[in-house]
């Protein structure tokens, strides 16, 4: 009995203390405290940079919900148009979204780390291909060998440059696919990891792009006679591709790998890309002009997509008109056949990929030339031998018929 009286007394004191503590607090303060803790948790969610932090935020949300459970009704009024339960639900949803984003970012970080290793391997691979191309070029320059041997060296050199370019096409595709999909949060997080020095400056994708551009500028500056229009077209298409990819993922790459020299990286690569564009464009259009001349296709001067298409179009249209005006079409048809062969075998088949990739000719432009080429074919087609024999035979029969009629009339009169 004495023990139970003691319990009642202790309980009463405890209740008194609890009541007095809560009585001194204003409802407004409860609301403010809730709002402050809400804001602090919300900011922790925004700033969380790994899954562990989000896990601890989730525990904080549970604690917040528990601490204010008794004031739920008060908070429903005070937080209007929100309520206690919607505020807690909102925090949970925000943290789940953040967790989802961080998971994606962590996966991306892992993928990028793999990619960085690949890029580093690419770099050494390109290095050895460039070395091989350079030594072949030197060998060609210093060659005293027979023409056959020299031609083999040139073929090897061209093959080596082609392999290097194809390799670069692949790297650029990989860079594009990986870095284009990154959202701003992922870029920030990866930049933070980049600043920790997880990837060395020399092996970053920025360094790889920079060395690709410079190696290509060097190749073009050598002004090598071993390279053909095919090579210049491929180099031009490659330059276009790298430029396009840089325009789309350059900012992300600079933000992730630029460290403290973001602006310098951006300016250097942009300036180098401009140089590359100028030299590859000049080399390609000049080589294409020489090729056409060599093929006896005399086109008006061109140095860009529009002027090249206009020159081709005007050539085909005037050739079609000339064929229409000529009676004996053998030469005209020969010219058509020669152009048609070059158009189909070289331009549309061998060069197609690079023409489209480099925007040298677009698909609609090629379709338009195709259609006009058909007209030229129709106009220049010579009259067939069978038709001429038939015509001659008809003329003989007609002459014989006339002679017979005249002879009969003369015979009747006599």
């Amino acid at each position: 009995m004495r023990v139970s009286l003691q319990y009642i007394f202790i309980t009463f004191i405890a209740l008194f203390v609890v009541t007095s503590t809560t009585a001194q607090q204003s409802d407004f303060e409860i609301k403010q405290e809730f709002e402050n803790r809400y804001a602090s948790i919300d900011s922790s969610i925004t700033n969380a940079d790994n899954i562990r932090k989000i896990d601890s935020v989730l525990l904080e949300i549970d604690k917040l919900a528990l601490d204010f459970m008794n004031n739920a009704s008060l908070l429903d009024d005070a937080l209007y148009p929100k309520s206690y339960s919607t505020a807690i639900a909102e925090l949970k949803e925000n943290s789940r979204n953040a967790e989802h984003k961080l998971l994606i970012i962590e996966n991306q970080a892992e993928r990028l780390s793999i990619l960085s290793n690949e890029v580093s391997q690419y770099k050494s691979e390109i290095g050895s291909l460039v070395k091989r191309s350079d030594s072949l070029r030197l060998a060609i320059a210093n060659s005293q060998d027979s023409e056959r041997k020299l031609s083999n060296l040139v073929a090897d050199y061209r093959k080596s440059v082609e392999q290097r370019d194809e390799f670069i096409f692949d790297i650029v595709d990989t860079l594009f696919v990986t870095y284009k999909a990154l959202n701003p949060n992922a870029v920030r997080e990866l930049a933070r990891q980049g600043n920790k020095g997880s990837i060395s400056d020399n092996e970053s994708p920025l360094a790889v792009i920079s060395s690709i551009i410079n190696q290509n500028i060097e190749t073009l500056q050598v002004n090598d006679e071993s390279l053909t229009t095919d090579d210049y077209l491929r180099m031009y298409a490659l330059q276009k591709k790298v430029s396009n990819v840089w325009n789309q993922v350059g900012d992300n790459l600079v933000n992730i790998y630029g460290g403290s020299k973001k602006e310098a990286w951006k300016q250097d690569i942009t300036a180098d890309l401009d140089k590359w564009r100028a030299s590859s464009s000049y080399a390609m259009w000049t080589s294409l002009g020489d090729y056409m001349e060599h093929q006896n296709v005399s086109l008006a001067a061109f140095d860009n997509n529009n002027s090249f298409f206009a020159a081709l179009d005007s050539f085909v249209v005037s050739a079609t008109k000339e064929s229409g005006d000529t009676i004996l079409k053998n030469d005209s048809y020969k010219e058509f056949k020669s152009f048609k062969e070059m158009w189909s075998a070289k331009i549309k088949n061998d060069w197609n990929k690079y023409l489209i990739e480099g925007d040298v000719l677009t698909i609609p432009q090629m379709a338009s030339i195709d259609s006009k080429l058909n007209d030229w074919g129709d106009e220049s087609r010579p009259i067939s031998t069978g038709f001429l024999i038939l015509l001659g035979f008809s003329l003989i029969v007609l002459t014989l018929l006339i002679i017979t009629i005249i002879w009969r009339r003369t015979g009747v009169k006599e």
Binding site: A23, S26, L74, D77
Partner: protein, 159 residues
Amino acid sequence: MRVHIRPYFIILALTLFVSSACKTFEVKNVNYGQQIESVLSPNAKGEVHDSRYSLSFNILPFQYQETQDSSAVSVREVRLIRNNAGLYFITADGFSNVYVMEPINNGLKLKKKIQVSDQGLIAPAFNMRNPYIELVDKETAQTFTLNENGIHKKPEVKS
């Protein structure tokens, strides 16, 4: 003499009908109670605006009641809560009284001035404790239970 009852009856019925139609339309048992106080900071002119309940007034007349000085705003935060009957309980830091104000056409009319402190409240706050309004001075830990007639309970001091 014949009394015509029918016309009188019709006139009486019409009068009753018209008078009942003209009677003021009223809805009873409306609860105006604000579940949580509004804490408002006056601007340089002494104007306070409660954006949630869309109420604006000037605190300077209250300040004048307290200090007989309304030349400059000395109030930092105005505390305001509305009870179930729709009366506003208004006080501020440094005030010795709680003003129970009745809303009137384009104004507030004093219904009761409740003195709660001699020295002035230091950190006042209102809580809705149905059907009363609780006034807490967080600094001195004094609490008062108020209604429109004054202090319902003597102040308690919690340790």
